[in-house]
Amino acid sequence: MTDVAIVGVGCTKMDEHWTKSLRDLSTEAGALAVKDAGLDGKDIQALYVGNMSSGRFIGQEHLAALAADQAGLIPIPATRCEAACASGSLAFRKACLAIKSGEYDIIMAAGGEKMTDIKGPEAIAALMGAADQEWESAIGLTFTGLYALMARAYMNTYGLTRDELSQVPIKNHFHGLKNPLAQFRFEVTAEQVARSAMIADPLRLLDCSPITDGAAAVILVSDRVADRFKNPIWVKGSGQASGTLALHDRPSLTEIPATQIAAKRAYDQAGVGPQDIEVAEVHDCFSIEEILAYEDLGFAPKGKGKDLLLNKDTWIGGRLPVNTDGGLKLGHPVGATGIKQLIEIVRQLRGDAYNQVKDPRIGLTHNIGGTGATALVHILGKER
């Protein structure tokens, strides 16, 4: 069985990039990753691109071929993968499988989204393409609304308070202070979160990830060539699972089964458990989801996710720092997000993160699409 390692990373700033198109952003991220790996573009054998909705955001499909074209990578195979907000991780996982198939040794997996070319209500509608168009979008639900339904159910069942929930944005904004690529770099207080605009009750503005433009890319290689690179970070486990598209089709609103199943696969493949993870990036598109992720990933028992925040376990300096780059609150260009998460864990394991955890050896990324109709979990390790 072939092993896969990540040997180069590149990421644009997360921002409202008025002067840059998606082709500019993806070329920038790709060039940074190729350079970081010490390669030349001609060494790349295939390209995988995660993108959710370029058709609606910029009127452009066929995005992987466009990215290959603009980056001078033609004629290599270029594949776009889509699973809403999990598109980046999906592209990464498909790139891993392509290397394991034996057909390639060096692949670029990238993700990007250009979300600010259309107006706010149009972007909200486009993002609802990740949910059930016939039965959720059609009655006026929004993504914040769907997570608000989960948040209220969770608060009602497990007694989570507003101020406890606010610990998620407070921690992640604090972590993001050190990240030069973050869209926002300021601290927030519980009072600021509680007073920020209501978007979908009970979720407020500071519970939400912003509308962001950005792109990110990594270079993956097989074990056959990995020794040519300094500091390869190994893909120890990769799990993917699906759930119902509509939130209302699930028996419980306070857990995401696809995360649980994807995590089990990834842990089994890596031969580790939740207790072995030393740094993690989890999908905090809305504050509540970080707490659900703690529980679905096995970091905390059901209903006890908040303890990791209150005990500072998931803060930098704690036993399992989570979202050390600021998480999605600091920018969520949906197709890029999964790759951006992997980049943070690679940097943490290499030891060159902006907000470095002390010498971690095993890290995890968790990326979901929609309200959890797709979940991907990856486990990376410093050793093969």
């Binding site: 039965w135 989960m150 509509a246």
Partner: protein, 135 residues
Amino acid sequence: MESAPLYWRLKRQKYNLIGTRCVTCGESFFPPRSFCPTCRRRGRIEEFQFSGKGEITSYTIIKSAPKGFEQFAPYTVAIIKLDEGALISGQVVQGTPATIGGRVVPVFRKMYEEGKEGIIHYGIKWQVDGTAAEK
């Protein structure tokens, strides 16, 4: 919002709360499914009339609305566990406060308008049982 073909395709089911039921295992589906996820090929699907009565399992009040719904915000959306067993997302009519566990009944209401002088789309919303709310 829905495209006109989608609206017309699902109108009968959405207007009349007609779902489906798998005769093989007895599970009922609303939104209707044409395939039983449990029994698969052994499943036998038939139409099933839901009463629309049920109970709120969670709800939210949407303040920041998507394109097409801006003029209705704020509005309440809930997940309703229908008495016959399925769960569905639906709007709760204005003027009646939603609560988790609260009983609701279906009412026929305007959903949204298409464009400025466009077609008015009607559909089912839910009303807290025993209250009188907006028509």
